[in-house]
């Protein structure tokens, strides 16, 4: 019987050794996204964008040489180690997001986390990372309070709700100066972390900017019917309507506004559901003239963003949307920090993230760069406004970043 014991021991030792050798060659990052549940559509596009990022880092892409890690294979700072991203499904619920964070940290032994699309889920998942001392990078969650919790392991590359609200209000002021009737504003928001946060800062900024916020309608996300909200808007008839919604509700609003023949003069939709490629496909033709915000825009042919957009289109069949583009930037930022850390020790990655200093030409989104403040917020994030024109979003504001003319009033269908 002794030989059996030895054989088993031998196999175990061999496995352990090879596992050790493997660990040298791959760096595991966890990514928590809504891969099922109601935001699955958006989540799976983000996943595709991050997979594209893994390809960019792990394989040589000389045509993208401005991007850190693109020209080389793997992470030079870690002897060419490859990055492996372990995806986890948050199912659209904060509880599942938290459980998956715990599983990725304790069982998959990831060195850092990325995620989690919905702000309300980033809250719980990042709390788990904070407790275990693992860096958490959110590329797309914008709720203001995420970086106000005093967390030491939390980093955010996307611009935050307040900046976005300022952009909207600045845009509206310019319209007013140009002579348009822009006085009353209504906000319709889903009532989780994301919608509530955006609604409250938009309300504050608009009031400060001299507008009358006549109506704020919070509604339960993922609802079966939005007719009463649209009828309420129709009755109050504000000059500007701001929607803050995930995909399922965004589709219902687009359809219902047509059914009930409602068009405000200016319709602003805050990203999220309205940027989901499946929203653009199903409802783009119903919301001509809708104003949206974006950080990613595919630039001129041959530019880094255009090449990346082509790669994404080849992979998925659709243009790279803004949340997924920001997802990709979050991943690339994290990968660059791990490479600079030259280590898989979470504390060293955290220190490297703090020292991140990416320039505007080193990022795929339209940010002025990536540099974190003491709260972990990127201070160089920026947004531009886009408009739905002929079934696609075109950058229209501010003028120096625009590639198309603003066409108002809102046309709809």
């Amino acid at each position: 019987m002794l030989w059996i014991g030895r054989a088993v021991l031998g196999v175990v030792v061999a496995t352990a050794l090879s596992a050790g050798a493997m660990a040298q060659q791959t760096v595991k990052i966890g990514a928590i996204y809504p891969l099922s549940g109601n935001a699955a559509s958006a989540g799976n596009y983000s996943k595709a964008a991050i997979e594209l990022g893994v390809d960019i880092v792990n394989n040589a892409h000389p045509d993208l040489k401005d991007l850190p890690l693109a020209a080389t294979q793997g992470l030079p700072g870690l002897n060419g180690a490859k990055i492996e991203v372990v995806f986890a499904d948050n199912q659209g619920t904060p509880a599942a997001g938290q459980n998956q964070a715990l599983r990725l940290i304790t069982e998959e032994k990831v060195v850092a986390l990325l995620g989690a699309y919905q702000s309300g889920i980033t809250v719980t998942a990042s709390a788990m990372a904070e407790r275990h001392g693992i860096p958490f990078v959110t590329p797309e969650s914008v709720a203001a309070n995420l970086t106000e919790r005093g967390f030491k392991w939390f980093f955010r590359t996307t611009p935050v709700a307040g900046d976005i609200a300022k952009a909207y209000v600045e845009f509206l002021k310019q319209r007013k100066t140009a002579g348009a009737k822009v006085e009353t504003v209504a906000i319709v928001n889903e009532n989780t972390e994301y919608g509530t946060s955006i609604a409250s800062v938009v309300k504050d900024e608009a009031t400060k900017g001299g507008f009358n916020v006549a109506l704020v309608i919070p509604y339960p996300a993922n609802t079966t019917d939005v007719q009463p909200q649209v009828l309420q808007l129709k009755e109050k008839n504000p000059d500007v309507v701001v929607f803050v919604s995930y995909t399922s509700d965004a589709i219902l609003y687009a359809k219902t506004m047509k059914d009930l023949n409602y068009k405000p003069a200016i319709l602003i939709a805050d990203n999220a559901g309205f940027n989901d490629p499946s929203f653009v496909k199903t409802s783009g033709a119903l919301v001509e003239g809708l104003i949206n915000r974006s950080s990613f825009a595919a630039g001129k042919p041959g530019s880094v963003s255009a090449i990346i957009n082509d790669m994404f289109k080849k992979k998925t069949g659709v243009d790279l949307d803004d949340p997924s583009g920001r997802g990709l930037q979050g991943f690339l930022t994290l990968a660059e920090a791990i490479n600079r850390a030259g280590s898989t020790d979470p504390a060293k990655i955290q220190a490297a993230l703090r020292a991140t200093d990416l320039k505007a030409n080193q990022v795929v989104t339209g940010y002025n760069g990536v540099k974190f403040d003491e709260k972990g917020q990127n201070t160089l994030g920026s947004s531009l406004l886009t408009q739905m024109q002929g079934g696609a979003y075109v950058p229209v504001w501010p003028a120096d970043k625009a590639s198309g003319e603003i066409k108002l009033p809102y046309k709809g269908w």
């Binding site: 699955a40 339960p220 079966t224 019917d225 007719q227 589709i251 219902l252 009930l260 199903t282 119903l286």
Partner: protein, 287 residues
Amino acid sequence: MSLTLLQVIVSGLLLGAVYALFASGLTLIWGMMNVVNFAHGDFVMLAMYAAFVVWTAFGGGPAASVPIAAMLLATVGVLSYFLLVRHIMRGPMLAQILGTFGLALFLRYSAFWLFGSDFRTLPDTILGAPFEFWGLRVDAPRLLAGAIGLLVILGLHLILTRTSLGSKMLAVSEDAVAAQIVGIRPEYMQAAAWALAAGATGIAGALIATFFYTSPTVGETLAIIAFVTVSLGGFGSVPGALVAGLLIGVVESVSAYVIGPVYKDVIVYILFVLVLWFRPQGLMGKA
């Protein structure tokens, strides 16, 4: 009464008719077999995808997709009965609940695998533009869904109360052994009930797809309200589902408009609890 409020009520009635249509298949299974079909919402989801496939494959509208979805779902219903439900009915109540819940997850994740996670919609012109009368706007697909919903519910009610098939199904549901003694085969009747209920669900799904988005999880979104409708209307009562569906639709719309959308569910559930407090068997259920 303001015109807008009237419009809100009309919208609520149209919504309610759809809820009723959605719930009728569920209440039938409940009434006939004392089985809660947790896969009901996912049956509707399947029918919605059927309508989507019929449209993308050969441009067919509801005239083609409704009968196809009805037949497809009737088949799925019979298969579910013979392959799953018949077996779990012998087990404890918990096995039944978990069994149909498992079926729900199986269907939902099969849809993710087959169709991906993208949202789909049918073209909004599939039934023509919304029309107006007396200043009220009515969306054609919703009106059609509501009208056919009423017909389906009436049809189910007549089948159950006026035909020999209905009497046999009722006999089996009341006392399977006694029914067997007089020559009725319980399994056939139960399979027929599943075919009928799932077929009605197929009609509901194909119609809902004309004005709602389709995604693998859409059944989950719609199913909760179906369970509330069925319990409010009375377990197993098809006319009850109709009354409850309309009631919920109007209460939801009016409270969302008057108080705010965040509170509409609170109002619906308060109504729900109050009705069950005084009538535990539901509005039209048998005590």
